[in-house]
């Protein structure tokens, strides 16, 4: 079994372009990062492409990683998220956000008996722009202003899309409960 390296060891090794540490980095973090990529881009093949591009970028810019600002996995996760957003823009997946009717009221998201795995799969079932906004705001913790900049939308659109995403999730959970698939 491969030895598990620390973040510092891995980052130094990758800065030195040492294949041993690059390999270890891939082995250690690729599954988590792949899950992040899938959370943004539903298609698994596309998510793998994003993951590959992300790793190339990570190898190239490892010297920018600052351990005092956060963990290596969080930094790499950000790289994957940015890469996914870039990919999403390239694929021209922007939709006319204004076409989606804004939700004028908001209810708290029902999270009873909800675990992380269920939530993960529910998120991946959301439609494109809503999934992006939900991921960025709820999971990654970006503000609406930051999301607006990343997705080239208005801040108000980001807010309404988040509300809509939550509403969709509530509907999905309610439907699952009705089907008694929710234990």
């Amino acid at each position: 079994m491969d030895r598990k390296y620390t973040d510092i060891e891995l980052s130094l090794g990758c800065v030195n372009k040492d294949p041993k540490f690059q390999h270890a980095l891939v082995m250690q973090y690729s599954e988590g990062l792949y899950a992040t990529a899938v959370r943004y881009i539903k298609d698994t093949d596309e998510a793998k492409d994003i993951l590959q591009d992300s790793f190339l970028k990570i190898f190239k810019s490892m010297h920018q990683f600052d351990p005092s600002k956060g963990s290596l996995s969080a930094w790499m996760s950000k790289v994957v998220v940015n890469q996914a957003i870039k990919y999403w823009h390239k694929q021209k997946r922007q939709v006319a956000y204004e076409d989606y009717l804004p939700v004028t009221f908001e209810q708290p998201l029902i999270l009873d008996k909800l675990n992380s795995e269920r939530l993960y799969h529910l998120i991946t079932t959301l439609e494109d722009p809503y999934r992006m906004v939900f991921n960025l705001h709820v999971i990654e913790g970006y503000s609406h202003k930051e999301i607006a900049e990343k997705l080239n939308v208005k801040t108000s659109s980001s807010r309404s899309m988040l509300t809509r995403a939550k509403s969709m999730l509530r509907t999905k959970i309610a439907r699952l409960k009705k089907q008694k698939a929710w234990i």
Partner: protein, 468 residues
């Protein structure tokens, strides 16, 4: 569910893992690292756009610089004209020539008249079977009929560029409470700096890196904003080109030669200017910088006039129409006899003169960056190292001289000012566009020549800048 549960679920989503063929991914990564260009589908839009801009720029330069023979007799005709219908004044002085040039309509009327008469003569010749032309003498009258009544001014100049990169001062990350982790950070930073220095052999990296970053890599664009905030790139190299127009001031040094200066002004029409050069820029601060460069510039002017020469002024035309009487009912009476006439030769000259120079532009520029854009102004001077003329000019005796020795080989300093808009393509590369003006300086003609000549240059500069 309390807030901690909620946070745990979110954390769980964040740390969720999916199974993946890691070894396959590693193999793919190795392959992609070996051929980094092939690994990514690159967007060629920027490449096409910039290539198109450069192509237009260069083709404009070439198109605007007609490399024709400097002395061209485009049109040469000999006409026989009845002397009684088109009187030609011989031995005209300078003042008369100038006054004739001021009224080009008059000469046009004369030409029209001549053509009508020529047709009448031909008609009559065909009627009478016995036409006989006697050539008696060969008195030649030279008459330069100048066809460009407008006056123009000309100039020469240099260019200027501005940076488009957005830079801010470096932020110190050091903290007195250095822990073990901090030591590692410093170590990583030091290593990264060494690596950056190792990458720096700019001869090796400047073009591939610049081209990759500018034309292909979208990720570089996103990187640009973050990177430029951290770095203050002090040096840059630019490839500059410009196209523009010129204005020429041609003045007589003695009052007696005002007429000659007027003829020169009316026959010479400045066309356009282009330049191409390299420029080095040093930034004192992110906003203030100094530029020095080396550029080649050329401007073209068109010398256009018609020379009409009376080849024979004492021709006798036998049995030609001498007089036509027109009656009220429309009928005519034509009286035939012997008339005098002159044969004329017309030569249209259309010459392109080229003024070339090698300049060293020096300037100080202030730029104000706004996001990826930057707006700047510059002031400076252009030192002229070499000056050359290729073409023909009308001399003081009103004849054409090829490559006259009127010009100095070096003309000193011209002042320049300009504005520019820059756009940062990435953290190192930027493109600039803006107008500039070159003015002042000494006359480009020698002190011994009777006219002084100065130029002003109005340019549109385009540049590609790479910072390091």
């Amino acid at each position: 569910m309390d807030i901690n549960d909620y946070k745990n679920i979110i954390k769980g989503v964040k740390e969720h893992k999916l199974t993946l063929d890691k070894e396959q991914l590693w193999l793919d990564l190795q392959e992609a690292q070996e051929s980094p260009v092939a690994s990514k589908p690159k967007s060629n839009r920027k490449y096409y756009f910039l290539s198109l801009a450069l192509l237009i720029s260069f083709s404009t330069c070439w198109h605007l610089s007609p490399d024709q023979s400097t002395k061209t007799a485009n049109h040469q005709t000999t006409e026989l004209v009845s002397k009684s219908k088109t009187p030609i004044e011989q031995n005209q002085d300078l003042a008369n020539i100038v006054s004739n040039q001021k009224s080009p309509q008059k000469s046009t009327t004369n030409q029209a008249q001549s053509k009508t008469e020529k047709e009448l003569i031909k008609k009559k010749t065909s009627q009478s079977q016995t036409s006989n032309i006697l050539v008696k003498s060969t008195a030649i009258a030279k008459h330069n009929q100048l066809s460009r009544p407008e006056s123009y001014q000309a100039t020469r100049s240099s260019n200027e560029n501005f940076t488009a990169s957005k830079t801010t001062s470096n932020t110190a990350r050091e903290n007195p409470s250095i822990s073990k982790t901090k030591d590692a950070v410093i170590s990583i930073e030091n290593k990264s700096k060494i690596l950056q220095i190792l990458k720096l052999p700019w001869i090796k990296t400047i073009f591939p890196l610049a081209i990759r970053n500018v034309f292909f890599s979208d990720s570089a664009l996103a990187k640009a904003q973050k990177q430029t905030k951290k770095e203050h790139l002090k040096h840059s190299l630019s490839v500059m080109s410009s196209v523009g127009s010129i204005s020429k001031q041609l003045e007589a040094k003695r009052r007696q030669l005002d007429g000659y200066a007027a003829i020169r002004n009316r026959t010479e029409r400045p066309l356009e200017e282009w330049s191409l050069g390299l420029q080095y820029c040093y930034r004192f601060t992110p906003k203030l910088k100094a530029n020095i460069g080396l550029e080649f510039s050329q401007f073209t002017e068109n010398l256009s006039f018609r020379e009409m020469t009376g080849v024979d002024s004492s021709l006798l035309f036998d049995d030609e129409i001498k007089k036509i009487i027109l009656f009220a009912d429309g009928s005519t009476f034509e009286e035939f006899g012997t008339v005098n006439g002159t044969a004329y030769t017309f030569i249209d000259y259309n010459i392109y003169n080229h003024y070339r120079s090698l300049n060293v532009p020096l300037s100080v520029a202030y730029t104000y960056p706004i996001n990826r854009w930057s707006f700047g102004a510059s002031l400076g001077a252009s030192i002229n190292l070499w000056y050359g003329f290729n073409g023909s000019l009308i001399n003081e005796q009103l004849s054409l001289t090829e490559n006259p020795d009127y010009f100095k080989t070096s003309i000193g300093i011209q002042y320049m000012s300009g504005l520019a808009i820059g756009y940062a393509l990435n953290e190192r590369a930027s493109i600039t566009l803006g107008p500039s003006l070159l003015f002042g300086g000494k006359s480009i003609t020698k002190d011994s020549y009777s006219l002084s000549q100065q130029h002003k240059s109005y340019r549109i500069n385009m540049g590609y800048q790479y910072s390091f």
